[in-house]
Symmetry: C2
Subunit: 233 residues, 2 copies
DNA sequence: TCCCAAATTTAGGCTGGCGTAATTCTGGGA
DNA sequence: TCCCAGAATTACGCCAGCCTAAATTTGGGA
């Protein structure tokens, strides 16, 4: 009966679940209950309960004991949340001086409170950006998102040039660290070595004297790159 | 057990109640249950229930059947919400092109989601404003608020000059209307007449040809003014 | 002083969302 | 094919907040 000026019309919790499911979805397989539980830091039975409500609302398709998939309307709502999150992050960094490692939590709360109008005004003020500060593509107002086909740094062949295109916004520590290395979205570098058995990747970073830097495997897995055309010897 | 990055540490609902009570409080008398119920658009028994919780948390002092008063900590939290609300309103109008009649609802939601840091960054970007777009004073970070001693337009003596200083942000219709008259905070005018029995107040507004304008009693009650020194014949 | 209307509180219920404990299903290994 | 570990679900309970209906209190007028 209550109006709820939320503009997705769904509860905060529902919005969180939809976004989490969207982010966990891979084209092939449904998202498992336990994965959602971990992502949202709730107990698995809580997820079962919410999944039931979501599927009754037609937001997800539930295959018992198998997992869930977003329905069309679920995906639309999820992409709306993703757009909000990324525009807010971009706005905070560009207009209010936030560092890229500190915007995630703020955006996580604001995405539930902003109206469509505010988001569009922020987007306008930013010149309708296509990527957020971590390189993630911003879905369009109509819910289209660019599918990027990026390579983990750990998979870039030794000897090639690559450009950092995207990093998860989740881990501030990690973001601070890679920023301290001079790495940010758009920086190109050469991959000059990789040790086997999940050993570090070594890259050469541009600079007055180019700098070689070892990147641990876990980190190298989190850095998404474009392999650049011209190879370097 | 959950951390709650809310920074007041209270629930959305609690924040709403505290702010409402603050705004209904008058130095002398406690705030009645029914007044809170009306302000928040909930049923009186819901207020009784919440008041019980608030008083158990030490945020209000409850005098059964008489009403409630904010405690020190309750007042501090309420003023924090007021500061947030007013800074958000100011930010939206000054930096994102909102009109003064459309910021209230947006601020009403954002005030619960923003962090202290975001508020301070907004305030900084605005040059630490002292008043919001409707002329209401913005509490300082430490919780001090300027007490203004303003006169309703309906109480300004006929013949004097006055300046509009403050209007409630609650009614967009009213705000649009007075803006359409060319009235905004800071505009000075002369009170040239007032009809008895809650009749209209007539004012003379500055302009290429000064304009006379009748203001209904209800509206005249909502416009808070300074009486200016120099009288005019 | 008594009584009634209005305000308030209590009683009892509901929903969303979370938790734990117990149960059920699934799929891979022996 | 059987069995079991792990995943998922069901069963049940809790709390915040809201509601309506039924007491209860209060204060002002006759």
């Amino acid at each position: 009966m209550s109006a709820e000026a939320k503009s997705t019309g769904y509860s905060r919790s529902t919005e969180d679940y939809l976004k989490a499911i969207y982010e966990l979805e891979t084209p092939g397989s449904p998202v498992q209950t336990s994965a959602i539980a971990e992502a949202l830091d709730v107990a698995p039975p809580s997820v079962s309960g919410m999944v039931k409500r979501l599927s009754e609302s037609g937001l997800v398709e539930h295959m018992p004991y198998r997992g869930v998939r977003l329905s069309e309307s679920g995906r639309r709502a999820a992409l709306k949340m993703v757009r909000r999150h990324r525009i807010v992050e971009t706005y905070l960094t560009q207009k209010l001086g936030y560092d890229w490692d500190s915007v995630h939590d703020e955006a996580e709360r604001l995405e539930h409170a902003v109206s469509d109008e505010l988001i569009e005004r922020m987007a306008m003020a930013l010149g309708n950006p296509r990527y957020d500060p971590h390189g993630a593509p911003i879905p369009s107002r109509s819910g289209l998102i660019e599918e990027q086909d990026l390579l983990a740094l750990s998979d870039v062949p030794v000897g090639s040039m690559a450009e950092l295109r995207m990093v998860s916004d989740r881990d501030p520590e990690l973001l601070r660290y890679i920023a301290s290395l001079g790495l940010k979205v758009g920086v190109a570098f050469e991959v000059i070595g990789r040790q086997p058995f999940k050993g570090p990747v070594t890259i050469r970073l541009p600079g007055k004297p180019p700098r070689e830097q070892a990147i641990g495997h876990e980190l190298a897995d989190a850095l998404r790159c474009w392999e650049l055309e011209g190879e370097v010897g």
